[in-house]
Symmetry: C2
């Protein structure tokens, strides 16, 4: 680690954050596993195995803080982001959400009306997937100490077959559940006062009901059709694909033309020189699917409003841990692990 | 609610916070229970009941954010506070800690060396009770947006007999596991540069091993000897006793002379006009014990280093929800619900 203080990149979801986690957190936590997936897996959550479960079930535990600013943005607010983010972390682990926590840290002077609106939004978002919010914590700090509300949510789920981000095998198809880059770009546009197209809004959404039917799919040999799953939040699709490839020990070839983008996202990225693959999404999943089952998975996804734009975007290759993007003319480029999300504090 | 913005008292553990939670959070969360103890109980955590448990077991989920400043204080730091705080919330619910989460929010410029020291302290504190830290989250924000590191921990535990804070019955003895006021007063002294006695340090400690043996105690009729439990953090002993009395529908009579105080805490409180009963503790529990069992409980507590100063401080009365303090001359005064902890940001 070059500098001796924390920089913004240390929390931006890319390779600088990976280094911090590896060199400081994983090195110093000695007891970090309570089931088949522990902290060292750096998956979207970890599992807890109980003696009382003789059916192979495991609990899944996950947590996320949200420091987005401003707390209100087109269509919704930080409350939706927090609940959806934690539901999605459980979802991409293949776990049914059982319960959420809600810890708020609020600077003095924050309007009570906005506070109540955030709480109402959390309630509504949780209701979409039927998960109760059962415990919480409220802290306040001086307005000179913190610029906006912070939410932390933890989630408890249960699964009989955890989905890891390391399960990709050559030949698997790579799917996304919808358009890429909406959240980060809409936030940036809102924050900077850009006036793009009207269809540009955060995609923040809780995905459990969208993904649940996929978890039951089995091949004729009885193996799960879904081989790996991840939500492409901080560091965007580029980071999610690289993590999945590296952990699976495989390569991924993505067809640029197959990635669904909203026109406004493409236009904004071109104008501002941003790579939409590095921008955070908050209501999307990247899914590895056993070859031959992609059409079945797509048709299930497209029946749900959050999966209408689902698409196959590429496949897993035997190349070692590389993510390659092929454009329509056959040109190839590596998709690198980004240093972090190019737009700070969007989640 | 009089003002229309958040004030520091909204997060200070007293009656202003109770109003915020009641009028905004509980009112707007519609689905808030997954077991026998839900959010509306406002206990130290809530429970999750699973179909797979046919032995009456429940999971316990709890969460806490720590915004203490400075992050380092005599003997230890925010890392110990966070782990101990969450372990203790599980402990006073009667739940064995199974796993913790660790979410950090760090301002840019925070020294990496201090960050590592905090992580090491979390590891050491968790090791005292053998609980793994299995999942986490790292966020960074601009240094103008946040003044110091914030930690959030959530905890998952399991119990076959949850201990509620509402279980007091007239005649029960009220015990504390050690001296009162140490954490808040030591923090304030450190922060303000006062030079009190050398024995003044935070009491922050994980209490599971201290409390675990008590949970097995049964009366000859087979009832739990421990009837209620709470950790007197924000709002101090005054708040904890009032919550226990109100929820139990009973009164509590405390003998002032029986409350163990360190001399330095008494001296500081006298000098500064602070009520030590309203000051936060971070390594203590208030315990309701069935009459006749208090000596047995005391002797178990005193065998553990964290329980050496354990004492009976009073008993439960049939008076409706009142907490009364009797001094050595027989004079009585009500112990009111404090507006909040008189010393902000000590936890």
């Amino acid at each position: 680690m070059k500098s001796n203080t924390i920089s913004l990149e240390h929390g931006a979801g890319g390779e600088v954050m990976q280094a911090l986690i590896g060199e400081i957190i994983l090195k110093n936590f000695h007891n970090k596993s309570a089931g088949s997936i522990g902290l060292e897996c750096l998956d979207d959550g970890s599992t807890v195995r109980l003696d009382s479960f003789n059916n192979g079930c495991e609990l899944v535990l996950t947590t996320d803080s949200h420091v987005i600013t401003p707390a209100f943005f087109p269509n919704t607010n930080i409350g939706r982001l927090a609940v959806a983010g934690t539901v999605n972390d459980l979802t991409v682990m293949g776990a049914k959400p059982l319960a959420l926590t809600c810890a708020v840290i609020v600077p003095e002077g924050f309007p009570l009306k906005e506070f109540e609106e955030i709480i109402k939004t959390m309630d509504k978002t949780a209701a979409e997937v039927g998960v109760p919010i059962i415990t919480g914590d409220t802290k306040t700090v001086e307005k000179t100490a913190l610029d906006s509300i912070i939410l932390n949510t933890a989630g408890l789920g249960i699964t009989d077959s955890p989905v890891r981000d390391s399960g990709l095998r050559p030949g698997d198809k790579i799917l996304v559940t919808g358009t890429i880059g909406d959240h980060g770009i809409s936030l940036m546009a809102h924050r900077e006062g850009f006036d793009f197209d009207t269809d540009l809004a955060s995609d923040s959404a809780p995905l459990w009901k969208l993904i649940e039917p996929l978890l039951k799919l089995r091949t004729p040999e009885g193996e799960p059709v879904i081989t790996a799953m991840k939500d492409p939040t901080r560091g965007g699709l580029a980071n999610a694909l690289n993590e999945m490839a590296a952990k699976s020990g495989a390569g991924i070839l993505i067809e640029e033309d197959w990635i669904p983008f909203k026109p406004a996202v493409s236009a904004a990225c071109e104008m501002l020189g941003l790579d939409p693959l590095e921008v955070a999404n908050e209501g999307k999943a990247v899914i590895g699917v056993k070859p031959g089952f992609e059409e079945e998975v797509l048709s299930i996804l497209r029946q749900h409003p959050y999966g209408r734009d689902a698409a196959v975007i590429g496949e897993v290759t035997p190349d070692k841990k590389e993510v390659v993007l092929r454009n329509r003319f056959g040109g190839m480029r590596f998709v690198d692990v980004p240093a972090g999300d190019p737009i700070p504090r969007v989640c």
